[in-house]
């Protein structure tokens, strides 16, 4: 009886305020769409970045004239003198040459001889400690140049510069998306608050009568809260529907070609739907709450 009454009252005033209600539904829809795209993207990029960081390597290039004993010595040196080592892989001149030749046959055909040095490829156990390893192997001199701890070492390099770019790039994407999502959430809350404010205004006679005949405060408030939640839920359900269609139509066919999308760590769809619906209802309850606090003096 009561719930039926509340729902009837809420839908009655939704009909009466069709235009602002529609605006609020549309805003919630866009917000939830953006959130629905944003959350999987952030997850996928996080997974990808971690993967790249996990693949970070430090290449210790030896001098081209280094002998096998030099290689052994440097190898031992690395194992003894530097922390944070997961594994050290030896790539001989010949192996490196074959690998490069395989990637770029014509260029190496033209070269005619092997210009590549022997390489010790270090995988650090913690990607963030990679610079410490580098500094240990090639300490900085006061003049700013680098020396080596062993005469056989020619140079120590990593691919950190490249990964930094990737990380920075994904961070920019994340930040913009978060900003956009934040703005849209704020807009949704305000528009729902506005809808409820108009509803309170257009139902002020009802509110007056309810107060006169002795309706309790919460009896007066419930239809408005319900109205806001209905608006939010409607926007949320529409957005989730659109996302579902987009997933089936666009993302699913791509999963075979893109490992990123298929990354197993990304959220599964039902959980995402649950989060999005929760967000839409939460946003609308917040919006109604703001308006009721400010405009409904019961």
């Amino acid at each position: 009886m009561r719930l039926g009454f509340f729902i009837r009252e809420a839908t009655r005033s939704l009909k009466r305020n069709a235009a602002p209600s529609f605006a609020a539904v549309a805003t919630v829809l866009v917000t939830i769409l953006v959130l629905g795209i944003f959350i999987p993207i952030v997850q996928a990029t996080t997974v990808a970045t971690d993967e790249v960081r996990g693949r970070l390597l430090l290449n210790v290039y030896l001098k081209t004239d280094a002998s096998d004993t030099d290689v052994e010595r440097v190898r031992r040196l690395i194992a003894e003198q530097t922390p944070n080592i997961k594994s050290v892989e030896y790539v001989s001149k010949r192996d490196a040459y074959l690998e490069q030749k395989r990637r770029n046959p014509t260029a190496y055909e033209l070269l005619g001889r092997n210009p590549l040095p022997d390489t010790l490829r270090i995988t650090p156990s913690d990607p963030d400690g990679i610079n410490a390893i580098r500094d240990a192997l090639t300490p900085l001199t006061p003049s700013g140049a680098r020396t080596t701890i062993d005469p056989a070492i020619d140079e120590v390099r990593n691919r950190r510069e490249d990964t930094d770019k990737i990380i920075r790039g994904t961070n920019v994407v994340k930040l913009t998306m978060a900003l956009l999502a934040g703005l849209l959430i704020a807009a949704s809350i305000l528009l729902i608050a506005n809808t409820i404010r108009l509803s309170v205004f257009s139902r002020r006679r009802e509110v007056e009568v309810m107060k006169l005949v002795g309706a309790t405060d919460w009896f007066i408030r419930w239809p408005f809260v319900l109205e806001g939640v209905l608006v939010g839920a409607l926007g949320g359900v529409l957005a989730v529907g659109l996302l579902g269609v987009a997933k089936v139509a666009f993302v699913d066919p791509l999963t075979e070609s893109f490992s990123l999308i298929a990354a197993p760590e990304t959220l599964n769809f039902p959980l995402l739907v649950l989060i999005l619906l929760g967000a839409s209802v939460g946003v609308s309850a917040l919006g109604s709450g703001i308006s009721l606090r400010r405009f409904l003096r019961v």
Binding site: M1, R2, F5, R205, E206, E208, V209, M210, K211, L212, V213, G214, A215, T216, D217, F219, I220
Partner: protein, 310 residues
Amino acid sequence: MHDRLQGAKGGGATVSLRRELMAVDERQQRRRSAARSVEAPERPRPKKRPAPPPARPSGDALIAFHDVSKLYEGADVGLKEASFSVMRGEWSFLVGPTGSGKSTIMKLLIKEIDLTSGSITVAGKPLADIARHRVPYYRRNIGVVFQDFKLLPGRTVYENVAYALQVTGQRRSEIRAKVPDILRLTGLSTKLHNYPEQLSGGEQQRVSIARAFVNHPPLLLCDEPTGNLDPETSIGIMQLLYRINRTGTTILVATHDNQMVDKMRRRVIQLENGRIVRDEATGLYARDESTKEFAARLRGEGPRGGPDLG
């Protein structure tokens, strides 16, 4: 009519204050019934069951104001040291020009505003003791009628009256039982499915009285109930209020229709600038009369058939 009202009253008691009020009402009714059999006055319409005499002030006060002052912001005086009391079942008029404090008294009684100093007791309970969240339950014991009716547009007569029951959480079966009953009492049985816009001013006021009285509250406050109505329609409304009064309901009417007040010969509390300047709880009470005789007197005629709405 009267018996049915009493029966409905007994069933609807939910709040202790209300139950207390009911108990007193019923005691009075019994007393009156006993008196009636002795007096056995002649009735103009033998078809009808004899109605009880109008409720006369009994020993205890339903409303008591003690030195009540109300200052509005900006030092506007709403009420200055007003003291009066209204007995159960009594009919009182509040008269005075606009701004004299009539509406302030009404608003204080429904606890829409709080007093500045003094004390008000209703049914022996100080209003100051009613907690903020209990106010809605307190208001269910008071019916309020306004000059501008305050009906909800877009809802039928039936829905308007039912609304008052719905929002106080009454069951559907109760609503189905009570609403047609009260609409019959107020003479609106044929207008059940009309919208307020389709009704005349008098009919709209009847709807608002029906809504105020559907719970059979022991106290009915009327703020300028005939302010928007022509004299003949006003008489009809007063007749209806008189009928309600005769069931034992205390009625407080704020008005500036002095002619009406003079003809009614009921207690008059006159206000000026927030002060009570006259309180005639006179012995001018008219003899026990039927609603029809009552209406005839209001029209300033001898006994003659008017529109009877019973």
